[in-house]
Each structure stands twice: as C-alpha cells, then as structure tokens.
Amino acid sequence: MRHILVLLAVILMAKLTVAQTVEVCKTCPISTLKDGIAQAKDFDTIVVKKGTYKEHNVLVNKPLTIIGENYPVIDGELKGEIITVTSDNVTVDGLFIINVGNSYTADYAAIRVKNSKNFLIQNLVLEKLFFGIYIEKSRDGKVFHNKIIGEAVEEYNSGNGIQLWYSRNVQIEHNFVQHVRDGIYLEFSNDCVIKNNVSALNVRYGLHFMFSNDDSYEDNTFENNGAGVAVMFSKRIQMFNNIFKENWGTASYGLLLKEINDAEIVGNTFENNTIGINIEGSNRINYKHNTFSNNGWAIKVKGACYTNIFTENNFLYNSFDIAYNSKVNDNEFDKNYWSSYTGYDLDKNGIGDIPYRPVKLFSYIVNRTPETIILLRSMFIDIIDFSEKVSPVFTPDDLLDNNPQIKKLTW
C-alpha cells in the first residue's frame, strides 16, 4: 500500500513538473506564435509547424522552448522587431525569420534577447533583416548554427548580423553571416567565445570589438568584407587560427588593431588582403605562427606600438612585409621566415647568417607619397632599396630579424 502511494505521488509530481508541449500551426486551435506563448506555462515547449506566420513584436516573457518544425516562416512584414526575449532560460530553435522593419531611430532586430540568462538561439535562418540577433545586457547564452543573410549596401541604413551589447559569457559558434553591416559586433561584452563562424561580404567589418575585454575568437573565416576584423579599445583578446582573406580596397584590412593591449595573435592566416594587419596604438601583443601571404602590406605599423613581439611567422610574397611611419622601433622580430630574404646559411643551422631588414625604403616613400606605388617592382626602386639595406637612413636601423629562417616554417 505504501509503495503504491509513493508511486502515485511520483507520477503526480512528474505530471505537474514535466513540461507540456504546445503546438502551433495554421489549422490548430492555436494558430499564432503569440497565442502559443500566451497559452504556455513556464518551461513548456512550443512546437511551430511549417507555415507562414505574419507576426511582429512577439514577446517571450517566460522560460520557454520554441522549436520550429521544417523551418516555419515568421514574417515581420517590415513592421518592426519580430521576437523579443525577456525571460531567462529561453530556447529558440529552427525558425525562418524574414522582413524585419527598418528604422533610423530604433534598432529593430529579428530576435532580441534582453536582460536574460541561459538563453540558446540556434538553427535560425534570418533574411531581409535590419539587425539580426541582438543580445542586450544578457549573460551565459549560446548562439549556434544560425544563418544570417542581409541585403546591406550602405553603412548608415543597415544593421549588424549578431550584436552583443553589455553582455557576458556568450558563445557564438558555427554561424554564417553575409551582407550585413558588421557580421558580429561586440560592444562592452566580456568573456565571450566566437568560434567556427564564417563572416563574409559584409559592408563594414566581419567581426568588430569595441570596449570588450577577455574575449576570444578562433577558427573563423573572414572573407571579402569591408575589413576583416576590427578590434578596438579592448584588452586581452585571444585570436587563434582564423583565416582573413580577400579584404580588398583602399581602407581595407584583414585585421585592424586600435588601442589593443596584451592580446595573443596565434596561428592565423592572412591571404590576399590589401593590408594584413593594421596596427595603431597597440602594446604587448604576441604574434606567433601566423602566415601572411600575397598581401599588399603584411603588417602596417602606424605608431605608438610598443613591445609587440613577432616570432615564427611566415611572410610569403607580400608586396611589402612591414611598413613603419616612424624611425622609432620598440618591437621585436625574431625567427620569422621571409620569402624575400636573400641571405645565406653557411653553417647550415637553418638560420640565415645575416639579419633581415623587413622595412624597405620604398615602403617609407609610399607612406609619404602614396602615388609612388605605381613604381612598385621597378628596377630603380630595387636599386634604392638595396642601398638603403646596406646603410639604413630613413628606416629604423634597429628593426631587424636577427634569426631569419631559411625554410618556410611549419607547425
């Protein structure tokens, strides 16, 4: 008898606590997502069946799991924000959200997470958007496997793909962002991890940090953006194994560092960018195991950069390896491989016997008079570069790689 009572009690409790499933479809009793949310209790699951739902200003104010089956379309009809999450523990999964309203005064997003914890946004497809996923004053969340394709043309009237504002500890992984203003944008957001994303063809930056500390980004690909990644006014950012390629144009960089301190840049590939890395006012950064190939400028140092250490990088066939605009140097170059190194290695220890000077006189001239770029690779330029190499006058004379590698480095 006691056993049966216990069993009954357990079943009853289970019945009370187990989440219900609320179904939303065009022919169901509940035919809109808004109704579904209104009907659901805390920790319920809402399953949205295939179909088109014309809704905007959907407020998720209780801990719910919203799952779309076969990508139901939530069409905002350009009327404003589509989904706003204000509760903790919300999951949104598998929706196709289109037609976010455009505005010059409000940042309408396809999905906004506001003051929330433990959220999970995954498998969404966003199109025709203003802002995509907007995480605001939230923490401990995940943004996985989303596909965001915008139609941005100009900076002033477009929004960002994934934006974090005053957020902490958010993981952004396996997202695919195209044709927006900034692919991923972090402002005042700390301890975030950005991994395995592809950010391409964006109007401004593939990834953009502002006043965000202790973040890391790894294994991402940034291709064909206005500029690949801009890291500004941030501390202790880790940048590992990313690919920056084909960021072409007059003000285009693979990576832009401005006022960055104590960062690690390891194992990245910079390929076919106008400028691989543009450094301004950045200190104590370690550059290691990066490959710079076929860039216009592999690294352009714009001043106020101290104690940066470049070791064991490959510099392959860049038009200019390093450009400096001053004669002062406090940065260290050591054990790199430079494809334009012409020295010899008599003792066969794999290290060139004469130091390599990565800054050419011509890069100094181009800095001064940009039009002279048209004389690149001319024989006259080779001659003056050679004479500068023999006795440096215009370029920092202590800027040397004392241990240039003879063979390309592999790790």
């Binding site: 076919n272 216009g296 066939y317 494809s339 008079t369 024989m379």
Partner: protein, 248 residues
C-alpha cells in the same frame, strides 16, 4: 632568320626557365622572378640585337636596295625577321619548361601568358626603336651608344626622374600624372600590366579615384594594351618613313 644568335637567346631562356623552376618549386614565385627578367632583359636584348643585326647586314641591305624591291618591304622584312625570331625564342624558351612543369593545371597560367604577351610586345617595341636608331646613325659606335642609353633611360633613369617628380609635387593631386607617366614608358607600362595581376592588393591600397578605376576594373588592362600597340606602331611607321627617304 637563321641566325645562331636567336638559338643562343632561345637556349638562354630555356635554361632560365628550367633553373627558376628547379630552384623555386613554386610557380607563382617563379612568375615574379620572371617579371623582373622580362622588364629588364627583354628590352635590353631586343635593343642590342636590333642594332647589331642592322649594322651586320648593312652591306647586304645595300645590295638588296639595288634590286627592284620596295624599300619598305626590305626594312620591314628585316625588322619583322629579328623581332619575330626573338619573340619566338622568348615564348618557346620560357614556355617549354613551364609547360613540362605543369603549367596547364596551374592557376598561374594567366599570369604567365600575360608575361609572355608583354615580353613579346617589349621585343617588338625595342627592336623597332633599335632599328630607328641604327637607321639614323651611320656610325656604329654612336648607334650602339644611343641604343644602350635608350635602354638605360627607359629602364632605370626614367623611373628615377618619375619618382623625384612625384615626391617634389606631393602636395598636389598626382594620380593622373602618375598614370600618364606610366603610359609614356613602355617598360613601366608592361610592369604595371603585370602588377595588375600580381600585386593588385597593394595597388588598391591607394585612395585615388583614378587609380581605383584603373586598377579595379579591366579598363586598365585595355588601356595598357592599346598604349603598347601604339608603342609598336609608331616606331615601325618611322622605320618605313625613314627608310624611304634615306640616302644610301
């Protein structure tokens, strides 16, 4: 032309191609090195061969002139003989090792064909210029001197003056000036053409609108080829004109 010099020239390029590929093991780097060779050596060899051939065959030419043959066809024939055999040596000499190395499977094929095309243009231009110099100078030493000077001027000195001008007038908008300056020198023009392929990312670093239009689109390529063609046609016309009037 059954000149053994063109065989020597052919052998030189063959050797160069083989050595470059053997040492570099990388097609795209070899193309960069080749560019340096083409914009410096090809004009030099074209100039020297042109002058040399003209002076060598001067007596035979005078004999031919006694025959009822049109003057323009004699001189044009000589010019084309030298220029085309030099171009063939260049194309075959460099082409053969690269083809064996697997050029057709490589993405560098367009860069490489562009190199050969500009090389051919440069040969045609500088041989024509050399013929002009030789036609105008009876004195061999003088002719050789002028020819070498011409090469030195276009290959090195011109760029030096150009650079000085750009730096002196750096306060003014210079993008048009620099493009025009390039157009006026066939060596610079060929260099720019090749740069359009190799260093486009660096070239796009400059903000001038004229530059952007030139380098960012195929406009630059077309204009450069038109200019190169003009550079061939002008001296050839002068050969025809000069040879008609010249008193032997």
């Amino acid at each position: 032309m059954r000149s053994r010099w063109s065989y020597v020239y052919f052998a030189f390029y063959l050797l160069l191609g083989v050595v470059l590929l053997f040492l570099n093991n990388d097609l795209s780097k070899a193309v960069i090195t080749l560019m340096n060779v083409i914009i410096v050596l090809v004009p030099l060899i074209g100039t020297i061969f042109g002058v040399m051939y003209y002076y060598n065959s001067q007596e035979f030419t005078e004999l031919l002139l006694a025959q009822p043959i049109k003057r323009s066809s004699i001189f044009l024939g000589q010019y084309l003989g030298v220029a085309l055999s030099l171009s063939m040596s260049l194309i075959l000499g460099l082409g053969i090792p690269f083809v064996f190395y697997g050029l057709f499977e490589s993405s560098a094929i367009w860069d490489f064909s562009l190199l050969l095309i500009t090389g051919t243009f440069l040969t045609l231009i500088f041989t024509a210029l050399a013929f002009n110099i030789a036609l105008s100078n009876e004195n061999k030493i003088k002719g050789f001197g002028y020819a070498i000077l011409l090469w030195l001027f276009l290959a090195v000195i011109y760029d030096g003056l150009f650079l000085m001008t750009l730096i002196l007038f750096e306060d003014y908008p210079l993008d048009k000036v620099s493009l025009i300056g390039t157009m006026l020198n066939p060596i610079d023009l060929s260099r720019t053409l090749i740069l359009l392929k190799l260093d486009i990312s660096a070239l796009l670093g400059y903000t001038g609108a004229v530059f952007k239009q030139f380098f960012g689109t195929s406009f630059g390529l077309i204009v450069s080829f038109v200019m190169l063609t003009i550079w061939v046609v002008m001296p050839v016309l002068r050969i025809v004109f000069k040879s008609k009037k010249k008193d032997f």
